[in-house]
C-alpha cells in the first residue's frame, strides 16, 4: 500500500529560502505530518516544523498545503492524486522563522488587547447558575484550538501588513463574541470596541475564516455578523444592552 510521494517543501528563513524537492515513501492512512516526520528522520534532520498532539486538538501544525491553510495532522495524503506533487509552505501572513515555522506572536499580542471577563461583583465560587442553552453560544467559540489558520487566511492581514496594527482578526472576533455572549460577563460595549478598536469594520464577510476552521466554528455567521448587526442596534439603544445583562444576572444569582 506504500506509495512514493513527491513533495516540494519550503526551506529557509526570513531572508532567503526556496522550495526543495523531496521524494519519500507514504503508507496507507498517513497524514502530511507523518510524511514531514519521515523526511525529518531520514533526509532533513533539521527541517523545522511545529507540532504537538498529532490529533487535531492543539493547533500547532498549521501550514499551507498546495496553497491552502491546513493542519498537517488532519490532512490525509490520500486526498491528493498519486501523480501530484504536494507543495508545503509556511503560513503566509506571519514572518518565517525557519522552514515551516512562523512567528505567530502577533496573535498573542492581540490576545492581550482584548479585555478579560468581568464577573458580577459579589458572585462567589459555586454560585453561578447557567442554562445549557445560554452557555452553548460561547462554547462554540471556546472550541477554538488557536491554530491561527483563520488569521492566516484573512485577506485583511494576509495581503496588507499595514492592517495588522488595527485588526485583531477572526480568532479574536470570536473571543470577543464569546465574552459578549458569556452569561456572566458584565463589561459593557464589547461590540462597540470590537468595531472601533479591534477592526471589526474592516471585515467584509467573505467567510474565508469559516472555511478554513478545522473546528468548523461558524466564525462569520455566529460571531462576526451578529456583532456587526448589534453594534448598529446598541449604538442607539443602550437600555437594550442593560436590559439583557440585568435579566441574565438575575438568572445567575
Amino acid at each position: 500500500m506504500a506509495r512514493t510521494l513527491k513533495l516540494r517543501i519550503w526551506r529557509g528563513d526570513d531572508k532567503t529560502g526556496g522550495l526543495q524537492d523531496v521524494t519519500v515513501e507514504a503508507n496507507h492512512g498517513e497524514v502530511v505530518l507523518d510524511i514531514i516526520h519521515r523526511v525529518q528522520a531520514t533526509q532533513m534532520g533539521d527541517l523545522a516544523v511545529r507540532w504537538n498532539c498529532k490529533a487535531g486538538k492543539c493547533g500547532s501544525c498549521s501550514m499551507e498545503i498546495n496553497g491552502k491553510p491546513r493542519l498537517a495532522c488532519m490532512t490525509q495524503v490520500a486526498a491528493y492524486p498519486e501523480d501530484e506533487t504536494i507543495t508545503i509552505t509556511p503560513l503566509r501572513a506571519f514572518p518565517v522563522i525557519k522552514d515551516l515555522v512562523t512567528d505567530v506572536s502577533f496573535n498573542f499580542k492581540k490576545a492581550m488587547e482584548i479585555p478579560s471577563l468581568q464577573m458580577p461583583e459579589g458572585l462567589k465560587p459555586g454560585e453561578p447558575r447557567m442554562q445549557q442553552v445560554d452557555v452553548e453560544r460561547s462554547q462554540e467559540f471556546r472550541k477554538c484550538i488557536e491554530c491561527f489558520l483563520c488569521q492566516n487566511t484573512c485577506h485583511v492581514i494576509r495581503d496588507h501588513e499595514e492592517n495588522k496594527k488595527s485588526f485583531a482578526g477572526p480568532r479574536f472576533f470570536i473571543r470577543i463574541a464569546e465574552l459578549d455572549m458569556h452569561p456572566l460577563d458584565m463589561l459593557r460595549n464589547r461590540k462597540k470596541t470590537a468595531q472601533e478598536e479591534h477592526g471589526l469594520g474592516l471585515c467584509n464577510i467573505t467567510k474565508c475564516c469559516t472555511e478554513v476552521c478545522p473546528e468548523h466554528i461558524k466564525i462569520t455567521d455566529n460571531a462576526i455578523i451578529p456583532m456587526k448587526e448589534r453594534v448598529a442596534d446598541e449604538k442607539y439603544d443602550p437600555i437594550r444592552w442593560l436590559g439583557s445583562k440585568i435579566r441574565r444576572r438575575e438568572e445567575v444569582l
Binding site: H28, G29, A41, D46, C53, G56, D99, S138, I145
Partner: protein
Amino acid sequence: MSSSQTLEKHKYDVVIIGAGGAGLRAAVEAREAGLSVAIVCKSLFGKAHTVMAEGGAAASMGNVNDNDNWMVHFRDTMRGGKFLNHYRMAELHAKEAPDRIWELEMWGALFDRTQEGKISQRNFGGHEYPRLAHVGDRTGLELIRTMQQRIVALQQQDAKEFGDAEKNMKVFAEVTITEILKENGKVSGAYGYRRETGSEVLFEAPAVVIATGGVGKTFKITSNSWEGTGDGHALALKAGANLVDMEFLQFHPTGMVWPLSVKGILVTESVRGEGGILTNSLGERFMFKYIPDVFKDKYADNEAEADRWYLDQDNNRRPPELLPRDEVARAINSEVKAGRGTEHGGVFLDVSKRLSAEVIKKRLPSMWHQFYELAGVDITKEPMEVGPTCHYVMGGVEVEPDSAAAVGVDGLFAAGEVAGGMHGSNRLGGNSLTDLLVFGRRAGKGAAEYVKGHGANPVSESAIEKASAKIEAPFTRTGGENAYTLHQELQEITHNLVGIIRTGAELTEAIAKIADIRKRSANISVTGDRKFNPGFHLAFDLDNMLLVAESTAKSALLREESRGGHTRDDFPGMNSTWRQVNHIASFDGDKVNIKAQALPALPKELFDLFDVHELEKYMTSEEIAKGGSK
C-alpha cells in the same frame, strides 16, 4: 558556547517549567502570593498536552448525585490505585477538587450544565457517582484556555498598574530547560536554550516548579503529544530528587488502532461513560469475564443489569466497561492475544446502538470528528476499533504532599503528571485534571512560602559554563549517531519489553539494551545549526527518555507482583506485602538505582472510611489488626 557577557539572563522568584494545567495553576498561585514568575514551556503558550484531556475533571460537587462527597471520591481513588496511593495526596485531592473547579468557572470556564443550571457531571470508570465536570469531550482544552486567559487577565492588571504586562509574570515559550541549577545544595535556577534560535538562557531563581507532564514518547504507541519526553522526571533525577514507583504506567484501554498513522491516539473513556460497549470479533461483550474479585460487588455480571444501570444507577451495578483502566486494558490485551481481536489487532467499541447520531455528535463531537477524518469511520453508524495505548505515568517525582516540595532538594517543587504518589498504581480517569489544579496550586503556594524564607541563591560562573558546554556538545561531533534512529530503537525496546505485560527475563534484557542506547547516545551528532533544529532538540529529549525508561525497567524488574499499571506474567497476583513498598529511583550520575521504601500507612481516620472487609483484600492481617496509624 555563550560567553557570560552575551548570555540572556533573567532573575525571578520562581521559575515554572511547563505550561500545562499544573504549571499555569502554580504560576497563578505564586503570582498572587506576590512572587515574580517565569513560565517556561517547550511549545507555544496554550499548546500543552493538557488540551488532549477529553472526558472531564473529577470533583465530588454532588451536582448530579448528592450522595457524592470527598470521602467517596477518596475511596474510589484509593481503590483505583490499588491502595498504593500516598493517602495524603489522595485526601487533599478529593477534598480540594470541587473548589478548583468552581474557581475555574469564576475565571470564565463554561462547563456543560445540569437542568438546574449547575455544572454537569458525567460517569467515568471507577467513580461511584457521576463526578466529571466536562465540556463535551474537550474538557482539557477548556481547562488550558481558562488558565491561559487567567494569566492574560493578571498580566492586563499589571499593565494597568505598572505599565508593564510582564512585570510580575512572563511566559517564555519555546524554551527547553536542560538543567536545574544548584548552589550550596539548594536550587539556584534553571538553564536552557531558545528553540527558535538555539541561543542559551539562564534563569536565576531560588525556587523551581517542575510541571512537565508525562513520558509517553518513550513508548511506540502512545496518546501523548511530542512533549511527553519525561523532561521533568529526568531534570529532577539529575538535580538529586527521587522518582517514586516508576514501574506504574497507565495503558489507556482505548486508543485508535487503525490506520497505522493514528495508532495510539486517544479514544475518550466518555465513550464508555456514555454507554459504549466493548465486543470482540465473535460479537461477545467480553468484559463480564474480567471482573476481578475486589470489584465483584460493584460491577454487573450480566448484560441486563449493566444495561439497566444507565437508567437506574441506585438499584443496579455498573457495567464492567467502566472498570478502572488497568483492568479494561488487560482485558482487551487478553482478548486480542487469544485471537478474538479485530483485523487490526484491537476490539470493537460501539456507541451507535445506544445513542442517536445527534446525541453522539453533541456529547462526543471530537471523537466523531477524529474517526471520520482520520479513519473514515462514522461512529454514529459503526463501531470503532480500539486497543491499549501508553497514556499516563503514575510514577514521578517524590514530593511532600502538602507543599509539593520535591523530597531531598531544597527549592524544587513538582506538580501534575510529573509528580508521583497521588494515583498509586493506577489513575482513575478524570483525576488527572483535578490533580493538576489541586497540586499546581499547592506547588505555587509551596514555592511562595519557600522563597519568603530563603533569599536569592546566585548561580556561579562554573555552573553556567558546565551547562552551556552540554548544550554545545552534539554540535562538536560529526558522523555520530542519529537521534531519530536511537529514539525509534528505544521505543521498540520499551514497547516490546517494558509494555503492558512484563516478565523478569524481558525486563533484564530491556535494562541492558537501554544502557547500550545510552552509551551510543553520548555520541549523537546533529546536522545543521542551532536555529529551530528538531534533530538538536531531540538529542536532549532522548537523554531524558532514556533515564525514564531505565527507571521504569529497573523498578518493574524489582516489583514481583502485578498491580495496576504493572503486570508481571511471571508474578500474576497482587501481593499485600508488596503493597507496603514504594520504589524510589535516584541517579548517581552514571546509572539509576532503585531502593525499596515503606509506603506511608493510612492514618486511622482514613482507614475507618473503608469497610474493613474491603481492606482485607489489599492489606496484610497485621495491618488490619493495627487499624491504621495514629
